[in-house]
Symmetry: C2
Subunit: 135 residues, 2 copies
């Protein structure tokens, strides 16, 4: 499983594929929490791949799965603190694309705050996640 003791390699062992960080993104930034919501993204992940990624992310402690108390068919996927702490990596990716690939739709206001007010932005985004999760 773990390829080396390198901290970068370690992160890639968790989320170093084309889908895992998109799941994290959808939960962290778009407030998605259920399987069908996560399925419904512009990148069109296959159901079996999404099932697999959710299981792996749960197993490695990046998110939790609970049954919806209101609708027993639904699972609710929430980020753990480990998962929420991937936010800075997502932010840096947004900044990279904003700089080097302006065709992507990085929200200008978010980019501006990330550059001027990084820590406060991250705190705000964390707070928003907590709010959605009722914390």
């Amino acid at each position: 499983m773990r390829r080396s003791d390198c901290p970068i390699s370690n992160v890639l062992d968790h989320v170093g594929d084309r889908w895992s960080l998109l799941v994290i993104r959808d939960i962290a930034l778009y407030g998605k929490r259920s399987f069908t919501e996560l399925l419904d993204s512009a990148e069109h992940v296959a159901t079996n791949v999404l099932t697999d990624r959710l299981r792996r992310l749960e197993q490695t402690g990046l998110l939790t799965r609970t049954r919806d108390s209101g609708d027993a068919r639904k699972n609710i996927y929430r980020l753990t603190q480990r998962g929420r702490d991937l936010l800075p990596i997502l932010i840096e990716m947004i900044l990279w694309s904003a700089r080097h690939d302006p065709q992507t739709n990085a929200p200008p206001e978010l980019v501006r705050r990330a550059q001027t007010d990084r820590n406060a932005l991250i705190a705000d985004l964390q707070a928003r996640i907590d709010a959605v999760d009722g914390r």
Copy 2:
């Protein structure tokens, strides 16, 4: 090729696999510049995969390939500005592992500077890359 206009997805389209960012790491942080040096990492990438990743990273403008003037067998792989600008992402990955997986060998001094003196650290790392590349 591009799955969506999302800036995060865009970065993953470039380096969203288990090897590309390790190549970037080895060039940016360990001063490696040739194929054999890049082969010789703890994670043991296969030659055909390394060849493929170098070609892709070159095609998407993250690095350049030139012949070594001293030894005509050697290629020299250097990061472009696009590639060097991935450094903040690598830094955040190191911080994540330092926090959540202390078994990894994140250099404590680098972690400390990343937390207290982020911009200066990144400038220093950039300068070191430039120095290796003779800029």
